[in-house]
């Protein structure tokens, strides 16, 4: 798997957000801060979420931009943002967001790996309850 997709600086483990949109903005900002996307991408992530939920199960959502926002992606990257207090995601509880910036499909193997981890309840818990950046890096890269 590509190991250049997740910058340890884009792993935030102790965030809180009053609602889904705030959580998505936090993820978007993490991607902006590591230079993966331009600012307008954050709004595109909100647009995407309004058309269809990116909740995937196991308290995890994978917010990402719309097809039209690919021009705002500078390089493929993901961010991992943990909300230990939980965020209401259209009725689902989300404690972990994996934000995605992707031009092509270079991030798909990583998504598949993430899904693989989440299908294993023990590994899913390790990911959701991680308190060290190194734990996330170890699971995902």
């Amino acid at each position: 798997m590509r190991d250049d997709l997740l910058d340890p600086r884009a792993v935030l483990l102790h965030e809180s957000a009053p609602d889904r949109d705030a959580a998505i903005r936090r993820c978007g900002r993490a991607l902006v801060e590591v230079g993966a996307v331009a600012e307008p991408y954050v709004e595109a992530m909100l647009d995407r979420e309004r058309t269809i939920s990116t909740y995937v199960g196991e308290e995890v959502a994978i917010p990402h931009g719309t097809a039209a926002s690919k021009e705002d992606v500078k390089r493929d990257a993901i961010c991992v943002v943990r909300f230990p207090g939980g965020v209401d995601w259209d009725g689902e509880r989300v404690t972990l967001c994996v934000g995605i910036a992707a031009k092509g499909d270079g991030h798909v193997p990583l998504l598949a790996e993430l899904a693989e981890i989440l299908l294993d309840p023990d590994r899913a818990r390790t990911l959701r309850e991680a308190t060290q950046v190194s734990q996330i890096m170890k699971e995902l890269t």
Binding site: R48, T51, I52, G57, T66, I100, A115
Partner: protein
């Protein structure tokens, strides 16, 4: 056992929005449907299962189901996979 083999047509592959639409359609099916890519077979109504296939644009997948309504269910799901769902994205402006 009813079976359909189709190529994933959505530009972004079978994850994100196209995967969600596929899973939602599979949940409405009257029979359990499985989807296979390569060696891996997962329930079509499991979002995590479908994501774990890592199917990109052009990946060949096989749908399978058994029982009354299986043919119709597979027709619907196969038709969905062979459309570019990204091109029909309301947020695609």
């Amino acid at each position: 056992m009813a079976q359909r083999t189709v190529t994933v047509a959505s530009a972004s592959g079978l994850h994100a929005r196209p995967a969600k639409l596929f899973v939602q359609a599979a949940m409405k099916a009257e029979v359990p449907v499985t989807i296979r890519a390569g060696e891996k077979t997962v329930p079509a109504k499991s979002m995590l299962g479908v994501l774990s296939l890592g199917a990109v644009h052009g990946t060949e997948v096989t749908l399978e189901a058994d029982g009354p309504g299986a043919e119709e269910a597979l027709d619907t799901l196969a038709a969905l996979l062979s459309r570019d769902l990204d091109a029909e994205d309301p947020a695609h402006a």
